[in-house]
């Protein structure tokens, strides 16, 4: 896992993860608390006692143990699911942060100028080492609109000037529309080509070391860790489980008796002792299940999110400017409220606002045009 620099380009994914984590945390806490208390109540009400037993200290201990075990059992049922969710989210968060982090050279807080020779796709890739089809295609179309190469008419794109010079990202996009409109494979190819282009321009690079070796090392490490944890768990569980069984055998009571008989005070004391050991055992099970979930799924979440690329020094230099630009657009403008037609006034600043997720309305607006089927229609007009 790489060191995460403090410098981050704020992406929507980061904001979403924080929001989702908070919601799920409160929801899970509320459910655990409510159901745990309910389960304890139900369990305790299932016992029958001799008169006076419920007033004794032994009974109170037993009640405490039953409540604890109920809560633990409940946690054992629900926590792994929550742990899997949180560990995947946590791994993803780390991956997203790693993608969006950069090394600062100049300490730029606000960058107030255009980034010449940086296409919307370049900017998106440098920002978080990923390219998003809908957003980045919308930004590229907005730029084409600004250059008056295309216009928008009733949720479709019209080619206004076929002879204008196009950059590769724009040219491929226009060609894709000419050849039948936006398709999944077309978008995938466009995205892949933008990544290769950014690599060729020296903004990003494959990290040093053999990728296969690294993947295998990662898998082997996580497997070894899981095996070690499993044996530790088995040892502790075996040790504690044996104690519980010994106690039960020594008590000459069986578990059916536990549920049906009218308990005497001495039996309450005996069950309290047994349940204490049982509670510790379950606690260990909960603990190790959580560790296993966290380690395994954290790695899964991280590996799923972390880009295969890293930023080069040149990429880091531009990333710092992009972060400054994002701060500037966010703090010094209301570009989030602008419409696509205002690109003629704001020029690339509005395109940057789209790429940097400051303005999502324009993406929604432009992407409406994606849905229209182009099949067989092309003269001077392109339906997306």
């Amino acid at each position: 896992v790489p060191d995460i620099a403090d410098n981050q380009i704020k992406t929507k994914s980061q904001r979403n993860i924080k929001r989702l984590n908070a919601i799920v945390f409160f929801a899970v806490s509320a459910v655990v608390l409510a159901l745990g208390v309910m389960l304890a109540q139900v369990t305790l009400n299932g016992f029958q006692y001799q008169p006076g037993v419920q007033d004794t200290a032994e009974y109170k201990q037993l009640a405490g143990m039953v409540t604890l075990i109920s809560a633990e059992m409940y946690l054992l049922l629900f926590l792994p699911a929550a742990a899997i969710f949180f560990s995947i989210q946590s791994g993803r968060k780390r991956g997203i942060r790693a993608n969006a982090s950069f090394t600062a050279f100049e300490g730029i807080t606000y960058y107030r100028d255009f980034l010449k020779d940086i296409t919307p796709a370049d900017m998106s890739i440098i920002a978080d080492l990923n390219i998003e089809g809908k957003k980045d295609i919308s930004a590229t179309l907005l730029r084409l609109y600004n250059k008056k190469i295309i216009t928008f008419e009733a949720n479709r794109v019209v080619l206004a000037d076929g002879g204008a010079a196009l950059s590769p990202d724009e040219g491929e996009l226009v060609n894709m529309f000419k050849n039948g409109g936006i398709t999944k494979s077309g978008v995938a190819a466009w995205k892949n080509n933008r990544l290769r282009e950014a690599e060729a321009k020296g903004f990003i690079d494959a990290p040093p070391g053999n990728k296969i070796v690294k993947v295998l090392t990662g898998c082997l490490s996580s497997c070894c860790l899981s095996v070690v944890l499993f044996f530790v768990f088995a040892f502790v569980a075996g040790f504690l489980g044996a104690n519980v069984i010994d106690d039960l055998e020594a008590s000459s009571a069986d578990l059916d008796y536990f549920a049906t008989a009218v308990l005497t005070q001495s039996e309450v004391a005996l069950f309290t002792e047994i349940l204490t050991q049982y509670a510790i055992l379950v606690l260990f099970i909960v603990f190790f299940v959580l560790i296993l979930c966290f380690t395994g799924f954290w790695i899964f979440g991280y590996a799923m999110t972390k880009s295969h690329f890293i930023k080069t020094p040149k990429g880091n230099e531009i990333a710092e400017k992009i972060a400054g630009l994002q701060n500037f657009i966010h703090d010094f403008s209301v570009l989030s409220e602008r419409q696509k037609e205002e690109v003629f006034l704001w020029d690339d600043f509005l395109v940057y606002a789209v790429v940097l997720e400051e303005n999502e309305d324009i993406v929604k607006d432009i992407s409406k045009a994606f849905k229209v089927d182009l099949s067989g229609v092309y003269s001077a007009i392109l339906n997306l």
Partner: protein, 185 residues
């Protein structure tokens, strides 16, 4: 007064102070953004004013009989450089834009001037600077918009009134300046 009422009053006062503090800081930040962005506009305006003497000198050599136009440019430039607040500077800048438009229009009648490398270079520099002024002005107007929203909307308008936060001027583009874009280089 019972303890509950005292606690409620204390909580109310703390919340009120928290709100005042937050609103006041928000207003100060918004005001500082306006100032900061005006400083950016000012940098580009100064750059534009600095280009004028050279431009006038270059034109003088080819269009000696256009004294009134040149004089108008110099006066507008002097007025702009001596302006000591954004409002006056905006007005002077708009006046300068009008005068420069006339100057560039008359250059059409002097082919030698149009072909002069120094003149072409100055025109290009002016165009670049004007573009920068235009963008900086748009951002400035947005910061003014955000600031105005704060001082005019409830409840921050109360705090703004209490602490004397006053409205700022938008930097409107002059009609002449829009025409300036049409000048052929």
């Amino acid at each position: 007064m019972g303890p509950i009422i005292v606690i409620v009053v204390i909580i109310g006062v703390v919340l009120l102070l928290g709100f005042i503090l937050s609103a006041y800081n928000g207003l100060v930040k918004a005001k500082n953004k306006v100032k900061s962005q005006w400083a950016q506009v000012d940098v580009h305006l100064k750059r534009r004013f600095d280009l004028i003497p050279n431009l006038v000198e270059t034109v003088k050599g080819y269009a000696k009989h256009e004294q009134s136009t040149l004089q108008a440019v110099i006066e507008a430039r002097n007025k702009a450089t001596t302006a000591n607040n954004p409002k006056d500077e905006m007005a002077a800048n708009n006046q300068l834009t009008g005068a420069l438009n006339k100057l560039f229009a008359l250059s059409e009648a002097y082919p030698d001037l149009k072909a002069n490398a120094s003149f072409v270079e100055l025109q290009k520099s002016l165009k670049d600077t004007e573009d920068k002024i235009a963008y900086a002005r748009q951002f400035y107007n947005d910061t003014v918009y955000m600031y105005q929203n704060k001082i005019e909307t409830f409840p921050t308008n109360i705090i703004a009134g209490m602490f004397g936060f006053t409205a700022k001027e938008f930097f409107a583009a002059a009609d002449d300046e829009r025409q300036n874009v049409a000048v052929s280089f």
